[in-house]
């Protein structure tokens, strides 16, 4: 019986820590985003509130708590209030399947550094994150505003289109690893950089990352928001905490997509050199630190992309999703399956991936160049 309580306590502790980190990542990422974007625009970014501007987003968060909740007349009240939750909760739930460190032993008790290791972890991830679409559509529909409805439809079209690519791009990894369990996928990449899936599935990584940008409504795919053109979409009629829920969900999704990319393609918590994890707490700390650093690099890349690329037009968004990324995902899947079926070495897969990227680039450049010349 005491074992039961001990394990329950450990699980609750892990849940609390993971939720705290996921939610706490939001102000940290907002600040990082504003700082990095500032530097890229040759300005300092927020630096007035607290030392080096560190308290800026915390103060912003407090302000938003005290703002008035304005609910427009004629909204579909139950759905209006449910929609933000449908966007936030999946992001929080998904954080439970990401392994952020090895299995450690403290005083004879085995603790796995992830809330749970579902055997269908990756399926769970896709199943739960796709619920976000409901939140988006319902938010647009229940707001009693035609433009919110159109915004919701526009966003859901984007989410659904890119979800297909998102799911297809990891099938190559699944074929390689033969498991949906995220911890097993991470553990199969142990032993150094050349064991990481990015060396076998570079196309998968690129596709997953780009589709992840679109899924999280990040620039250059932030058409749901498009502040300079559309004045927001499905969340126009939301204010105060309900709006913040949409906002938080976006950043938590960036954090969790980065975490899943790290687990699937970049070796999870394994360092890029040959290293055998023991079961001491120190090993756990090494794993968590490496995992955190990789996630940090990916989050920086998200911000970097936002600072660099202009927003796509809607037809460009759809063309990229359906005419470029989806076929590429299929080709990648076939090539991977072919190479696995004939038991080729891993570097051939990597070379094939690099060739696919260069070929796609060449074809796209040609098409765009010809189109531009024709329109002249």
């Amino acid at each position: 019986m005491s074992d039961f309580w001990l394990y329950t306590a450990i699980v609750i502790l892990k849940v609390v820590i993971v939720l705290a980190v996921t939610v706490g990542s939001v102000p940290a990422m907002v600040l990082a985003e504003r700082k990095v974007l500032g530097w890229m625009q040759v300005r300092p970014g927020p630096n007035r509130v607290g030392p080096w501007g560190l308290l800026q987003t915390i103060v912003d968060g407090m302000k938003v708590f005290f703002k008035e909740t304005v609910i427009p007349s004629g909204v579909e009240r139950p759905l209006y209030e449910l929609a933000p939750l449908l966007v936030v909760v999946p992001a929080l739930v998904v954080s439970s399947v990401v392994p952020f460190g090895p299995i450690i032993e403290v005083a004879g008790v085995r603790i796995r550094l992830s809330v749970t290791d579902l055997d269908l972890g990756l399926v769970f991830y896709f199943a739960v994150t796709s619920l976000t679409v409901y939140g988006v559509v319902l938010a647009g529909w229940s707001s009693n505003n035609k433009w919110s409805l159109l915004g919701g439809l526009r966003s859901s079209a984007q989410l659904v289109s890119y979800e297909i690519t998102l799911a297809l791009s990891v099938v190559g990894v699944l074929l390689l690893c033969g498991t949906f369990n995220l911890r097993e996928i991470a553990d199969q990449q142990a032993g150094g950089f050349w064991h990481w899936n990015v060396c076998r599935q570079p196309v998968g990584l690129v596709l997953f990352f780009v589709a992840g940008l679109a899924e999280n409504n990040r620039l250059p795919f932030d058409l749901p928001e498009a502040e300079s053109e559309l004045t927001a979409g499905y969340h126009t009629e939301y204010s105060s905490m309900r709006f913040v829920m949409f906002y938080m969900a976006e950043y938590m999704n960036v954090f969790l997509t980065s975490a899943v990319i790290v687990t699937l393609f970049l070796g999870g918590f394994h360092p890029p050199y040959s290293f055998q994890f023991g079961t001491t707490p120190l090993d756990g700390a090494i794993g968590v630190v490496w995992f955190g650093m990789k996630v940090g690099v990916l989050v920086f890349t998200y911000i970097w992309i936002r600072g660099t690329l202009p927003r796509l037009r809607y037809d460009q968004l759809m063309a990229l999703g359906w005419k470029v990324m989806l076929p590429l995902a299929f080709i990648n899947l076939f090539v991977t399956a072919f190479l696995i079926a004939f038991e080729r070495p891993w570097w051939e897969m990597g070379l094939a991936g690099a060739a696919m990227i260069i070929l796609t680039d060449a074809v796209l450049s040609q098409i765009l160049w010809r189109r531009r010349r024709a329109s002249r």
Partner: protein, 157 residues
């Protein structure tokens, strides 16, 4: 190639991260104003301490936004305030109306009103944005004579 161009773009933004930022962090750092910059008004005195303004009201007449209010009064010959017959009993400028066109300065026959160099005019109340003779005249303690255009007075109000 598309990919190469894309990476070049990423290189540009990454390079700028390490550049020195161009922001002037205002309350601590200040930009040096251009020598010809003119901000809010000042009233002049003669070297003997008497005011130049004779309350002719030309400034108020020429002001396109009607920001100037002048009320004249007769000088007491024993204790004159200005060199003319009249002096300005009240002289108020509504800085929220003023468009800093400088017509008042041009219209003034006595060179009494001049555009000075202050530009920190932000305030927390509208009433404080109406400045009077006290704000406009160089204090006697700071000496008389011409307005020093290299000198920037403290904020009004």
């Amino acid at each position: 190639m598309l990919l190469v161009d894309l990476l070049k773009g990423f290189g540009v933004t990454l390079k700028h991260v390490f550049r020195r930022h161009v922001t002037v962090e205002y309350p601590e750092q200040r930009r040096v104003d251009a020598p010809i910059f003119r901000g809010r008004h000042h009233q002049q005195r003669y070297a003997d301490g008497l005011e130049r303004c004779v309350a002719c009201c030309l400034c108020a007449a020429v002001c396109p936004s009607e920001a100037i209010y002048v009320e004249g009064a007769e000088n007491n010959p024993d204790h004159p305030i200005s060199h003319g017959e009249r002096f300005a009993k009240t002289y108020e400028i509504h800085l929220l109306r003023c468009i800093f066109c400088g017509f008042c300065e041009e219209a003034c026959p006595e060179d009494a009103i001049v555009m000075g160099r202050d530009w920190e005019l932000a305030n927390d109340a509208r009433q404080k944005c109406v400045i009077n003779k006290e704000d406009l005249l160089t204090p006697v303690a700071q000496g008389f004579g011409e307005y020093d255009f290299n000198f920037s007075n403290p904020t009004v109000g």
